[in-house]
C-alpha cells in the first residue's frame, strides 16, 4: 500500500466516522430538528401542556372563516387529522385554502389552537399563469397542484 493511498484511506475513514457520528446525533434529535409537527402527530398530551409549538399542514377546504378583518378561523389538516386554528393578525399572500401553511402558537382550554404566527408554505412546482388558464379551459387542471 503506497503512502498516498494510506493517507487517502485515513482521510476517508475519518470523514465517514465523523459523518456517521453527526448523523446519529441528528437522527436522535430529529423531533427537535424538525420545524413543525403534522396534525396527526399531535396527541392529547400536547393539547394539555399548552407549550408553544408549530403545526404544519394544509389549510382545509371550506374551513376558512373570516370573523373580522384581522381575525380568522380555519382548520389545518394532513388528511388524517385536523386541528381548529384561531388567528388574529395579517395572513401572508400565499395563504389560501388547500395551500400549505405552518402555524405557531399554543392550545387553549377548549382544544382550539391559538396561533401567534402564520407562515405560508409553498411547494416545489413552478408554472406560468397562462398555462394554468389553458389547463383550466381544457379541463385538465387537477387539484394535485394545490
Amino acid at each position: 500500500m503506497s503512502l498516498r493511498f494510506q493517507r487517502l484511506l485515513l482521510i476517508l475513514l475519518t470523514l465517514i466516522i465523523i459523518f456517521s457520528a453527526v448523523l446519529l446525533i441528528l437522527y436522535n434529535t430529529r423531533e427537535n430538528v424538525s420545524y413543525f409537527y403534522t396534525p396527526s402527530e399531535i396527541d392529547e398530551s400536547d393539547m394539555l401542556t399548552k407549550k408553544i409549538i408549530r403545526i404544519g399542514g394544509f389549510v382545509e377546504k371550506n374551513s376558512f372563516n373570516k370573523i373580522s378583518s384581522s381575525s380568522f378561523k380555519f382548520r389545518i389538516t394532513d388528511e388524517k387529522a385536523s386541528i381548529l386554528v384561531a388567528y388574529d393578525g395579517i395572513l401572508p399572500d400565499l395563504f389560501r385554502e388547500g395551500q400549505g401553511a405552518v402555524i405557531e402558537g399554543s392550545f387553549s382550554d377548549n382544544n382550539i389552537f391559538n396561533a401567534t404566527n402564520v407562515f405560508a408554505k409553498h411547494d416545489e412546482n413552478y408554472m406560468p399563469k397562462s398555462i394554468k388558464e389553458s389547463l383550466k379551459d381544457t379541463g385538465y387542471w387537477n387539484k394535485n397542484y394545490k
Binding site: 482521510i11 441528528l26 413543525f36 404544519g56 401572508p92 416545489e124 412546482n125
Partner: protein
C-alpha cells in the same frame, strides 16, 4: 494537468480568461433579460418568482464551491499537491459571497411568500452554518504566522466542514422544514415549466462563468504572492 500544477494553470488561464469573461458577460446579461422580462409570472407567486433566478443558482454555486474546496483539500493532504492549498485560499471568499447572495435573496423571497424573513428550520440553519464555515476559513487564512501549518489546518477544517454539505442538500427531505423540497433532482422529471427552467439554467451557467473568472484572477494573484514570498 493544469488543474494541479500552478505553472500549467497560469499558462492555460491566460488562454481561457478572456473567453470565459466574455462568456460570463454575455450569459449574465442575457440571463438577466430573460429572467426579469421574458419569463412568465408564476401561477401562485406572481412576479416574485423571479427572485428564484438569482437565489437558486447562488445556492447551487455556494455548495459547488465548497465541494471543489473539499476535493482540493483531499488532493493537497493525501497526494501532496500544494496547488490545492492555493485554490482553497483563493476561492473561499467566492463561495462565501455566493452563500451571502443566497441568504439575502432567500430572505427577500421569504418575506412576501412565507410571511417571514428568517426561520430556524433545518435548511436555513444549515446554510447559515455553511456561511459561518466560509467565514472561519477566510479568517484562518489571515491569522496564521506559519504558512505550512496554516494550509494544513485549513484543509483539515474544510474536510470536517464538508459534512455540512449533504445536510444542506437533504435537510428538506430528512426533516419537516418551511423551505420547500428540491424542484430539480436527477431522479424525477423537474416540476418546473420549460419557460422558467431555461432562464434558470442560463443564470446558473452565468454564475459558474463569473465564479471561474474571479477564481482565475484570485489563483493567479495567490501564485504570484507566494512566489515573491510576501506571505
Amino acid at each position: 494537468m493544469f488543474l494541479f500544477n500552478p505553472y500549467k494553470f497560469n499558462k492555460t488561464a491566460d488562454y481561457l480568461f478572456k473567453p470565459i469573461l466574455f462568456l460570463s458577460i454575455i450569459l449574465f446579461s442575457f440571463g438577466l433579460l430573460y429572467s426579469l422580462f421574458l419569463s412568465p409570472d408564476d401561477y401562485q407567486q406572481g412576479t416574485t418568482v423571479r427572485i428564484m433566478y438569482v437565489h437558486v443558482p447562488s445556492a447551487w454555486l455556494s455548495l459547488m464551491t465548497y465541494a471543489i474546496m473539499t476535493l482540493y483539500s483531499v488532493a493537497a493532504l493525501a497526494f501532496r499537491i500544494p496547488f490545492g492549498f492555493i485554490v482553497n485560499s483563493a476561492i473561499a471568499p467566492i463561495g462565501a459571497v455566493y452563500t451571502l447572495i443566497c441568504i439575502i435573496s432567500g430572505s427577500l423571497w421569504g418575506k412576501p411568500m412565507w410571511g417571514t424573513w428568517w426561520v430556524w428550520d433545518a435548511r436555513l440553519t444549515s446554510v447559515a452554518l455553511l456561511f459561518i464555515i466560509y467565514l472561519i476559513i477566510i479568517f484562518m487564512n489571515l491569522s496564521f504566522e506559519n504558512r505550512i501549518v496554516k494550509e494544513k489546518v485549513i484543509a483539515i477544517f474544510i474536510l470536517v466542514g464538508s459534512i455540512n454539505l449533504p445536510i444542506v442538500k437533504f435537510s428538506v427531505d430528512w426533516w419537516n422544514t418551511l423551505h420547500q423540497p428540491a424542484t430539480i433532482s436527477k431522479l424525477s422529471k423537474p416540476s418546473i415549466d420549460p419557460s422558467m427552467m431555461t432562464p434558470l439554467i442560463i443564470m446558473t451557467f452565468a454564475f459558474i462563468m463569473i465564479g471561474i473568472s474571479i477564481a482565475i484572477l484570485r489563483i493567479k494573484t495567490e501564485i504570484i504572492s507566494r512566489k515573491s514570498n510576501l506571505r
